[in-house]
Subunit: 643 residues, 2 copies
C-alpha cells in the first residue's frame, strides 16, 4: 500500500502502479532529503508563524483579534502544503516532535473552519461575506485542493482522520455550492482541486469526489471566468492565464500560467486514469509532447515568460528571462508521473529525471533554507537585482511562498516517484538508492549515481516464475553496460530483464557518463551559436565565482576543440563532479557604444578569440550557493580561428 | 518663434535652438503626415467618444449622468494628447473643421474642471473624495502634465488662451497641494509633469512652474512612493517601476518602466537646459549612453521586458519579446532632442533618425488607423495571438490608448525636430523635405530620402557674412558625396559648410545607401549568429507573406555570400525600396521531439543548408500591413557549407 501522493483504485486504467513500498536510503537524494527533514521542514512552522499564516488561522478561529496578514488570498495554502510535506516525512520516518507540530496545525485548521465547512482565512478574516465572489483571484478551491492533498497525505501516513475530516467537511460544502443550478457554476482561477478531488475519491472510495473533479475539468475552457486585465497596463491576462480559454480535450499546446496549466493537466491525467477515457488521454499526450518539443528548457524548467508566469510561444525559450518557476518544475513532475503510470512509457520519467536533477533542485539551496522562485539559465554581470520573489538570488522566504513548501512536499514524497509495478514485474524509473517493492517483487538500488554511472540493483524478492525487472535507460545513453556486457538502448527506453530470479541476485547497470556537448534546435533562437555541457542527467553551468579574477563570464566563449573532462570534487558544494573545459576570452571588441555594426556579431561564432582560460563548470542545480554573480548554461562557441 | 514643443527661454543654456520656422512640404514624411492629418487626427474625437473619454468629461461637467468608462485612471490623457496633436496640426495647416473640434473639446475640459482647478474625471466621477490618495497609480499629475502640454501647444498654435487658462488653474491647484509642509509631499507614479511644467514656464514666463518642475525632479528617487506589489504574484514593481528608486543625478543606467524613465529624463533635460546645472547634465549624458550601448534595439525601440514595460539588464534585448512600446520610442525621441539642443552633439539625432524611421513608425499602420503598442523584432510562425494591447498585431484602438495620440502629436510636430540654429548658423538634423529657418538663415531640403541618398539643400536666406550650414552625417556613412566630390564623415558627425552664402545657393549631399549587413555585439546574446539588413536609416525585415508557399520563415537562413540588392517598388506598401537577398532553407532537422542534442545547434551557423530561396526584405516600419504571420529582423546566417 503506497504512502505516496497517488494511490490508484483497483479500477484505474493505468499501465503501471506506484510501488507499494518505497524508501530512499542513501546516495544523492538521501542527502537532499536529509536536509529537507532536518532543516527545511522543521523550519516550516516558524516561517509560517512569522509570515502570519498561523496568525490568520487563529484570527479565523476567534482565538486572536488580529488583521489578516499577507499579500495574497491563498496564504493558507502554504500551511496545507507544509502539512502535506510533514505528513510524507512522517510516513517515511516517525518523529514525535514533528508529529506534535502537525497535530498543532491540524487543530488550528479545525478550529478555524466554519460550521458549514468553509475554510479560507482571507475571506473569513479580511472579507467576510465575500466568499465565492472572486473566482478568478480568490484561490478558494485552490486552497481547498491543497487542504485535501494534505489531508490525504496525513491519513495515509498516520491512519488518523483529524485532517481528513476537515477536508471532507470543506469538500461537502463545495459540492453543495458548485454545479449547474447551484450558487456557483464556474471554475477557480487556479486549478488544483481537480487532482485533489480525484485523490480524495481514491482515499475515501466515494465516487462523488471523482464526479466533482470531472465537473471542474469539463467546465474549464468554456469561459466561466471573465478574461481579466490588471492595473497598470502591464498585465494582460486573458482566459489562458487561468486555463479557461480552451477545453483540455481541444487544446493543441500548453499555454498560459505554467503552474495552473500543469496542475490542471495532472488532475486531468488522474481523471483519465480513473475513467479510462481515450479522448482525454490523447489530449494529455499531445499537450505533454507540445511542452517537451518547444516549451521546455534544457533543465526541465518550464514557463518562459515573467508576464503571466506563463508558457511562451513554441521555441520561445530565453535563458536570461527564463521564468521556470520552481513550482512549475514540480507541477511538471506531478503531471509527468501520472502520465508515466497511465501510459507505461519511459519518456515521461526521462523528463522527470532531468527536471528533478536540474530545474527543480536549483529551487532549493544546499543549506535547505534559501530558495529560488525563478530559475534562469543565464544571469549577466550587470544583473540588476531587486528584492522580490522573482529575483535570481536565493531568498530565505517569499512574499508569495508557494515554492518552499512545494519543494518540501516533493522531496518528502520522492520515493514514490522511483519505481512502479505491473503484472509482469517492477520498473525502476529513477536510480535513487533505496528499496522499492512493486509488481510482486522488491529491489534494492545502490551506487553513486549521478556522479558514477554504475548502478547495482539487487532483487530482494521475486515471485517464483519468470518476472521482469525493467530498467529505464535514459535517451542520452545510446548503449549501457549490463553486468559483463553492453546493451543497446531499447527503442522504448525500457531494458526488460525477464527471467526467474533468485532473491539476492544482483544486476550491474552502467550508464555512460561521458560529457555531452549539447546544442539546441535552431528554432530555439535565443541560444543560437551556443552549446551546453551535460553529463548523465545533469546540466552544467559556469559561474563567475569560478573564473580567474579579471575574466568576465560575459566575455567568454567555450573552446569546442577541447573535450571537457569530469573530475569529482568531494569538498565542493557538498561533493560534486565538475567539468573542466577550456574557454577563450573574446577580444574586447564591443566598448560602451552602439552595439551593432558590420561584423559585430562575428566574434561570437567565427571570429578571433583571445587568451585561453581554464573553466570549471558546476552542476546547474548547485548554482548561486557560493556568491552572487553571473551564471550561464549556454556557452558561446569560440570560433574555428581560435588556435 | 517656434511652433513646436520646445521654446527655450533666452536664458537657456542650450548649444542649439529649435528652428523658428519649420515646414515639411514633401517626400517621405510629408506623406506620413498627410495620413496623420487626414485620417488619424480627424478620427480622434470619434475614437475618444466611443472609448468613453468624452463621456467621462461630460459626466464630470454634470452634463451627463453616466458612470466612468475605461479601465484606467488616466483616460483623460488621451484627450489631452489628441488636443496637443490637433494643435500642432493647426499650427501647420489651418483647418476650420479641426479647429471646431478642438474648441468643442476644450469647452468640455473647461466645463469638467472643478472650481479649485482640479481636473481628472476618474476621481471626479468614479472616486470623488479620493483625489491625491493613490499617487502610485492615480496618474493625476501625469494627466495634468499632458493637459499642460496640450495647452502650450494650443496657445502657440492659435494664440488663444482658453486651454491655457484651464491648465494654469490646474497648475495653481497643484502648486498649492504639493510640496514640503503641504498636503502631499510625494511624486506621481508616472513622470510627465516635469517636462510639462518647464514648458509652461517657457510659455508664460512664470518662474514658479520651473521651480515646481525642479521640486518634482529633485524629490524623485527618494522613495516618496511605496514600492508596490500587484495582485496575482506576477508583477513585482519596486521603486524602479515608477522611477523612485534612485535620484536622477545618482543613477547609473536607465531602468524600470521605459516611458516613465524617458519622460522623466526629458523633463530633467528641460530643467538642466534652463538652469545650466552641470551635474544633472552629466547624469543625463551618462544615462543616454547607457541606454544606447546596451538597452536599445536596432530599430531604436526601447524597453526589453513585458514585465513592468521596462528596460532590461544591459544587453538583454530579445527580439521576440521586445516590448519596445511605441510610446517609449516617442519618449526616446523627446529626450534625445532635448539632449541634442542642450549639447549640440549629433549622436542624439543619429538615434532620433533611427527611431523615427523604424521603432516609432512601425507603431502606426500605413492606413493611419491601425496601431501597434509593442514593436517586436521577431514574430514566430506559431505566435499565439490574443486580443490585447500587447499583441503583435495591428489594432484599431487600445484599451490603454496611450500610443495612438502620442504618434499623432509627434507626427504633427515633426518639423520641430528637423533643424536647429545657433550663433554660427543652421544645423540640419534630419533630411525631411521642407523649409527651415534658424540661426539667422533659412534652407530648403529636397530629395527622395531615405529611398535615394541625394539630398539637395538650398540656402534661401543667409546673413551677409560667413555663415555655417551644418549637415548631420549619420554614423553609417563613412564618407558622403558633396557636390562634385567626396568628404569623410567628421568625427563629431557635423559636416560644417562655412562660407558667405548667396541666397539660392545649392548644396548636394549624397549619403551612401549601400546595403549593410549588420551584426550585434556578442553580449547581445539573443541575436548571436544572426545578421540584420540595413540601408540608410532603415532597418529591414522578412515577412512570411513574401516567402514562396511552403517555405517557413522559421526555417530560413540568410546566405551571407550574396550581397543583397536594393530595388525600388513603387507599388508596394505605398512605395518602398526592398532588398533582394538569397536565403537557404535549413534541413528539416528538428522534428517535434526534444529540441536539444549533440550538434543540434550547428545547422544554424555552420551546418549544411538546403535549397536556395529568393528573399525580399521590406522596411521594418512597414511590417504587418499586409497579412499576419511570421516576421524577423535578425536573420540566421547560413553556414559556410552552403554551396
Amino acid at each position: 500500500m503506497t504512502h505516496g501522493p497517488i494511490r490508484l483504485t483497483s479500477a484505474a486504467h493505468a499501465r503501471l502502479r506506484p510501488a507499494t513500498e518505497a524508501r530512499i536510503t542513501g546516495g544523492f537524494w538521501a542527502a537532499r532529503r536529509h536536509t529537507n527533514a532536518t532543516v527545511s521542514i522543521p523550519q516550516g512552522p516558524r516561517k509560517l508563524e512569522s509570515a502570519g499564516n498561523l496568525g490568520n488561522l487563529r484570527a479565523a478561529a476567534g482565538a486572536a483579534d488580529t488583521d489578516f496578514t499577507g499579500d495574497f488570498p491563498f496564504q493558507d495554502s502554504d500551511v496545507h502544503k507544509w502539512l502535506e510535506a510533514a505528513s510524507w516525512q512522517l510516513a517515511d520516518t516517525p518523529d514525535a516532535e514533528l508529529a506534535g507540530e502537525v497535530d498543532r496545525l491540524i487543530a488550528l485548521l479545525a478550529a478555524a473552519q466554519e460550521p458549514d465547512g468553509y475554510l479560507q482565512t482571507h475571506y473569513q478574516v479580511k472579507h467576510p461575506g465575500r466568499r465565492w465572489q472572486d473566482l478568478r483571484w480568490g484561490h478558494e478551491l485552490y486552497c481547498a485542493g491543497h487542504l485535501m492533498q494534505a489531508a490525504v497525505a496525513h491519513h495515509r501516513a498516520t491512519g488518523r482522520t483529524a485532517l481528513l475530516e476537515v477536508a471532507l467537511r470543506f469538500a461537502a460544502h463545495i459540492e453543495e455550492t458548485f454545479g449547474p443550478g447551484r450558487a456557483v457554476d464556474a471554475v477557480c482561477g487556479h486549478p488544483e482541486i481537480e487532482t485533489a478531488l480525484v485523490e480524495l475519491y481514491r482515499e475515501t472510495g466515494e465516487r462523488r469526489w471523482l464526479d466533482l473533479a470531472a465537473y471542474f475539468v469539463d467546465l474549464r475552457g468554456h469561459g466561466s471566468l471573465e478574461p481579466g486585465f490588471e492595473r497598470g497596463g502591464e498585465s494582460v491576462t486573458g482566459g489562458a492565464y487561468w486555463q479557461d480559454e480552451v477545453p483540455v480535450r481541444a487544446a493543441r499546446t500548453v499555454t498560459g500560467h505554467a503552474v495552473r496549466q500543469l496542475y490542471l493537466l495532472a488532475g486531468a491525467a488522474d481523471l483519465a486514469t480513473e475513467t479510462g477515457e481515450g479522448e482525454l488521454r490523447e489530449a494529455l499526450e499531445r499537450l505533454w509532447s507540445a511542452m517537451v518539443s518547444g516549451k521546455t528548457y534544457l533543465t526541465g524548467g518550464v514557463g518562459a515568460r515573467y508576464e503571466g508566469e506563463a508558457f511562451g510561444d513554441a521555441y520561445e525559450l530565453p535563458p536570461d528571462r527564463a521564468y521556470a518557476e520552481t513550482c512549475a518544475a514540480i507541477a511538471s513532475v506531478q503531471f509527468g508521473w501520472r502520465m508515466a503510470l497511465l501510459t507505461g512509457e519511459s519518456r515521461y520519467s526521462d523528463l522527470i529525471e532531468r527536471t528533478l536533477y536540474n530545474g527543480f533542485l536549483s529551487g532549493i539551496g544546499l543549506d535547505g533554507e534559501r530558495w529560488l522562485y525563478v530559475n534562469p539559465l543565464q544571469v549577466r554581470e550587470g544583473y540588476e537585482f531587486r528584492p522580490g520573489d522573482q529575483s535570481a538570488r536565493r531568498t530565505p522566504w517569499f512574499r508569495c511562498a508557494c515554492c518552499p513548501p512545494n519543494v518540501m512536499r516533493l522531496l518528502a514524497s520522492l520515493p514514490h516517484y522511483v519505481a512502479s509495478g505491473d503484472d509482469t514485474g517492477l520498473q525502476v524509473h529513477q536510480y535513487a538508492c533505496g528499496r522499492y517493492a512493486a509488481g510482486g517483487g522488491a529491489v534494492t538500488v545502490a551506487g553513486d549515481y549521478p556522479w558514477d554511472g554504475r548502478i547495482e540493483i539487487t532483487v530482494d524478492e521475486a515471485p517464483a516464475g519468470p518476472w521482469t525487472l525493467a530498467l529505464r535507460i535514459p535517451p542520452w545513453a545510446a548503449t549501457a553496460g549490463l553486468d559483463g556486457g553492453t546493451v543497446e538502448r531499447p527503442a522504448d527506453g525500457w531494458l526488460r530483464l525477464r527471467r526467474v530470479w533468485s532473491p539476492g541476485e544482483r544486476v550491474e547497470l552502467r550508464l555512460p557518463l561521458d560529457v555531452r556537448v549539447t546544442g539546441a534546435d535552431p528554432r530555439v533562437d535565443a541560444v543560437r551559436g551556443t552549446v551546453a555541457l551535460e553529463r548523465g542527467p545533469l546540466v552544467y553551468c559556469l559561474e563567475q565565482t569560478d573564473l580567474p579574477p579579471g575574466v568576465s563570464l560575459d566575455a567568454l566563449a567555450l573552446d569546442p576543440e577541447r573535450v571537457p573532462v569530469a573530475e569529482h570534487r568531494p569538498g565542493l558544494l557538498g561533493g560534486v563532479t565538475v567539468l573542466r573545459a577550456r574557454g577563450r576570452v573574446r577580444a574586447a571588441g564591443g566598448g560602451a557604444g552602439w552595439p551593432y555594426g558590420a561584423g559585430a556579431g562575428e566574434d561570437a561564432v567565427d571570429g578571433p578569440a583571445g587568451d585561453p582560460v581554464e573553466l570549471t563548470a558546476v552542476p546547474y542545480h548547485a548554482w548561486a550557493n557560493r556568491a552572487d554573480g553571473a551564471m550561464r548554461v549556454w556557452l558561446p562557441r569560440a570560433g574555428g580561428g581560435a588556435g
